[in-house]
């Protein structure tokens, strides 16, 4: 478990360094994730290795890790309550439209790709 956690922290720190060094507008851990993805492609760890068990353990309890920041809502209850309608509608309507539009765009693009290749308009990869 310790080597696994060290590998994850190493990727995170490398990511933090890269985003600062190059002014990349995304969080260090997200870049760390890309670095780990490349490393996993180069050399896949065994299913029972410490790294895999650490990753699966962290992801199993991913929801737990959002709880402390989420509890910050207690500080804003009066403010949120004072503008309840714009807050609730902004959250729900915005979320719903984003979800539906994204699903529609992806579904259409997934359907169009094979169709274009079948009709011979483009010669894509697989």
């Amino acid at each position: 478990m310790i080597p696994g956690l060290l590998a994850l922290l190493g990727c995170q720190l490398a990511g933090e360094f890269l985003v600062r060094a190059f002014g990349i507008p995304i969080p260090g851990p997200v870049v760390g994730m890309v670095l780990l993805l490349v490393a996993l492609q180069v050399r896949e760890p065994a299913e029972d290795s410490g790294l895999v068990r650490t990753m699966e353990g962290l992801l199993r309890h991913l929801q737990l890790l959002f709880v402390p920041a989420g509890t910050g809502v207690v500080q804003y209850l009066p403010l949120l309550g004072a503008s309840l309608l714009p807050v609730v509608a902004g959250l729900l309507v915005g979320w719903l439209v984003t979800l539906a539009v994204t699903a529609a765009v992806v579904a259409v693009l997934l359907a169009v790709g094979p169709w274009l290749r079948r009709t011979g308009l483009v010669h894509g990869g697989r």
């Binding site: 994730m33 920041a69 509890t71 500080q75 804003y76 979320w95 693009l109 997934l110």
Partner: protein
């Protein structure tokens, strides 16, 4: 006996925040199992409610709780890196869907900003609220930085971002089923774009493919929102 001092020492100890968070989470998992995994019984939502009530009842400040709570938040970094694992396992599927993924994220992350700003403004939200709302669909650290850059209130954005994530975790899978979206790739991407990491945590419970696509969408949305916010917010406000 020095009960007051002993109590003060307890409240000061980071161990209290850690124990409280773990206990609330454990109870929320138990409740979820008892409910037959009902989506409304979301562990993040239930844990926040339980901790909120305890802090209020024992008169503990959020800042005091956070001395321990932030030790748990610290693990979000390595956990985000660990999202590479389901993605690695699903990479063949991801590569084949590269164009739909990029298209969905590019449009979805823009739609998220536009709808948040327009709806909140239209319903009379203050300038402060509107700006704090704009980056709410992206992952929390990015949302905080973007909120600050456009003149929002970062702490308020954090709360709105987490509420958006909880909405996605609670309602995402069910709404997608209502909309007859069954392809796990589409489901994962839609939740990842609209509800970042908390939505992704839920999709990981649904299936590995949904979890992988959701995690990927979350990562790309961080970039998409960062590019859209400086263009769209000045146009809309």
């Amino acid at each position: 006996m020095h009960l007051d001092e002993a109590w003060a020492a307890l409240v000061d100890s980071p161990a209290l925040g850690v124990a409280l968070t773990l206990a609330a989470y454990r109870i929320s998992l138990w409740l979820r199992a008892r409910s037959g995994n009902h989506p409304l019984v979301n562990p993040v939502l239930i844990s926040i409610a339980l901790i909120g009530v305890v802090l209020w009842a024992l008169d503990i400040d959020y800042a005091e709780y956070l001395t321990g709570g932030q030790l748990i938040s610290l693990l979000l970094g390595p956990a985000t890196v660990a999202l590479a694992w389901p993605m690695h396992k699903e990479l063949a599927l991801v590569k084949r869907a590269a164009v739909p993924i990029l298209g969905g994220v590019a449009i979805g992350s823009g739609v998220a900003v536009v709808t948040a700003v327009v709806v909140t403004r239209f319903l009379g939200g203050s300038e402060e609220l509107v700006l704090s709302m704009a980056p709410k669909s992206t992952t929390t650290p990015v949302a905080l930085a973007l909120s600050e850059s456009i003149g929002g209130v970062p702490a308020l954005t954090a709360v709105l971002t987490i509420l958006t994530g909880i909405t996605g975790a609670v309602a995402g899978p069910r709404v997608l089923t209502w909309l007859r979206v069954r392809d796990p790739r589409v489901r994962g991407l839609a939740v990842g774009v609209s509800s970042h990491g908390i939505g992704t945590a839920q999709m990981l419970q649904e299936s590995r493919t949904e979890g992988a696509f959701s995690g990927l969408a979350m990562a790309l949305t961080a970039l998409g929102t960062s590019l859209w916010i400086p263009i769209l917010v000045p146009l809309l406000t």
